[in-house]
Amino acid sequence: MALQTQPPRPDAPARGAADPLQQPGWIDGTRRVVDSLQNDPTVVAAERRLRCTCPCGLDIFTCRTTDFTCSYSPVLHDEVMELVKAGVDVDGVVAAFVAKHGERILLAPEARGFGVLGYILPGVAILASAGALTWVLIRRGRRPAPERGPNPPPPPLPAASQGEMARLDRALADLES
């Protein structure tokens, strides 16, 4: 198929009209008009707590505003909008979704029941390890140091040469690093 080549028009003047696309077949389908409810804080807050059922791993709001090729998130978005239109609040939307889709629809498990284990285990493990480490260090610190006899006086130092001073500098640098 021969395609017309047309450069982008970064400075195209505003026309104020909805002109038809020159190559409508190049755009897959059509988008719905965004209304004020799509940006409604209740809709956005609820969608941010719910996971899209596609493999993206993102929440519904992020997924449906990303790339706009997912076919799952728009359907889930419609469900959220219906509930919000019916006056359901954020927690109510989330509860309705969990009732319909199961716990997997939540972007993160709730901190109750088995989910609590998920949240607290890493912190508990680190605290327990830190406590054990501190205990060991304190215990070792209390042990008396082994007794040593008095050190003999050091021998007098000879005058250092230029080469020796350079070597000393390097050694000090090594020690510092």
Binding site: I27, P122, G123
Partner: protein, 679 residues
Amino acid sequence: MILLGQFAMWAALIVAVWTMVFAFSGRWRTRAEVATALIRAPYAVSACLWVASLSLWTAIFSHDFSVEYVYSYTSRNLPDYYLFASFWAGQKGSLLFWAVVLSSFGALAQAVTGARYRDLLPSVAGVTSGVVAFFLVVMLLGDANPFERLPFVPPDGRGLNPQLQNPGMVVHPPMLYLGYIGMTIPFAFAVAALFARRLDAGWIHAIRRWSLLSWLFLSVGITIGMWWAYVELGWGGYWAWDPVENASLLPWLTLTAFLHSVMIQEKRGMLKRWNLGLVIGSFLLSILGTFLTRSGVIASVHSFTQSNVGYFFLGFMIIVAVLCYTLLYTRWPALEPEAKLESLASREAAFLFNNLVLVGIAFSVLWGTLFPILSEAVRGTKISVGPPFFNRVNVPLGLLLLLLTGIGPLIAWRKTSIPNLKRQFGAPLTAATVALAALIAAGMRDGYALVALGLAGFVVGTVGQEFWRGTRARRRLYGEALLVAVARLVGRNQRRYGGYLVHLAIVVYFVAFTGGAFKVTREATLRVGESVEIKSPYGHVYRLTHLGVSQYEALNRRVSAATLDVRRDGVRIGTIKSEKRQHVDSFGRNTFQPSTEVGIMSSLREDLYLVFAGTVDLTERGSFAITVIPLVWWVWFGGVLLVIGGLITMWPRGIVVAPSIRPAATSARRAEEREPVAV
């Protein structure tokens, strides 16, 4: 060429297995010619795998679509640089890439390791060859042969996934692979040292640059991966705690812990067992990442096609873990520390706690990644573990790590006195207080953000104090100009001051991540000439006016580009363009779903991020998602700073700045003026 590639892979496998068997049979100890052959064998394995790799590249560039891999990941109209990168775009090619780089690293390790460690080299060759042999077995006996033929020759290939057609694809996967693969060399030396019972600090010195190199590649790979996700995927973020992202973070965390704890072994002869455990663990975590990516056991957008390959990796990981930790256990008595920790207020203790937090974060990330599997096994209920979980668990740990990053350099080795602590902590605490006061005065009220930015001030204060004192001492001692003193200070203590730059980079990352918490998004549908406004977290008002949709044909795609005029607080700052792309093959047939190319207008403060969703009723009336995200630019700057710090740290000594030599008389006079420098 295909036959040659197949043959080369089999030849590499035979040599690698021979090397592994003879290295661990121990016969080389009594026969010098066998030891020499073992040391040279990695070169042969590497040569064979380069022949195989060049064969695959030849098939790719000659559009030999009879090869299933070439058909699946390339097309005739794919640009050359993406043809080159398609080598690692699919599972089979990436396994061959892994094998060839690992064999090259194995050969390089033999070439550059000094004669002091020659007795370890046959065992090192055995370990690296063993891992290469495993990859070859997966490819040749699993379902992953990159030279597999189709029963027919298609006229064109399927092409490369549009999301992979980004410059990041050319750099990000190889960097990550180099990081993962580089970890095999420290692992090989650790196993060789255990095997040979040579458990002094020798193996630690032999792997110092390798572990830094691996860490650096992994850091660069992760950062470029974040950039790629940001500019390509279109969700206005750079880190989503995806299982595969997590898999790259895990070995980075344990390797970072190792880079700190190894200093304690070098200076005090302590933590020998811990360091061996960390090196082995880091290698195993790199294999775990490969298992997660390739098994399909956890859903991820990054996953390769589900196949039996993942279970090869699971089996390999379990076997290696059992063998290595058993070996470590049998050498346990020989790994007694040479010194004891003397005080809680010592740098050793600070490093220990730093290690604890780093490994703790790694554990929490792994725990969160695997928690869905555990939950399903225990409760029979599938759950999802997404960003809110990871943020809730890891943000406090990250802040604790930031605190320790600031504390570590302020405490002396062995023991610190109270007056010394007061002297050391004064400036950093002042910096933290000033930062906090400024932020509160500016109206910031978010608790986590305040703590993060206050701690960032603390760490910057610590690093600044270290540079200031070191520079001041040099200027007094040698009378050097400021910049010369800084350069020489860094040049003569590369590891220390390069490390401080890395700490600064981590601070920059944290500050940038904090900005991500304040992003705002709104959607709008605009006719040509219509405008929408969005208020940024800084209070700026952006006004975007739809200028129209252009359609044109590019190299291998049909583009519909929406252009919007942008004004900030009433002042025009330019135009922003986002595209919908439909990729086609050389016959003009659609190859993938349409994809989106985001528009980004970046500044030091915040990014304006535009996603063109599509058009309404096939007119130029377009739907858009507009996001303002603060401080994203600083993520990339943090990455650059981290690379600079890492390069300084691992740069060969003596090349950066020549040491200054002064006359003995002058040095004696100046030594009298010397002020003690806190170390």
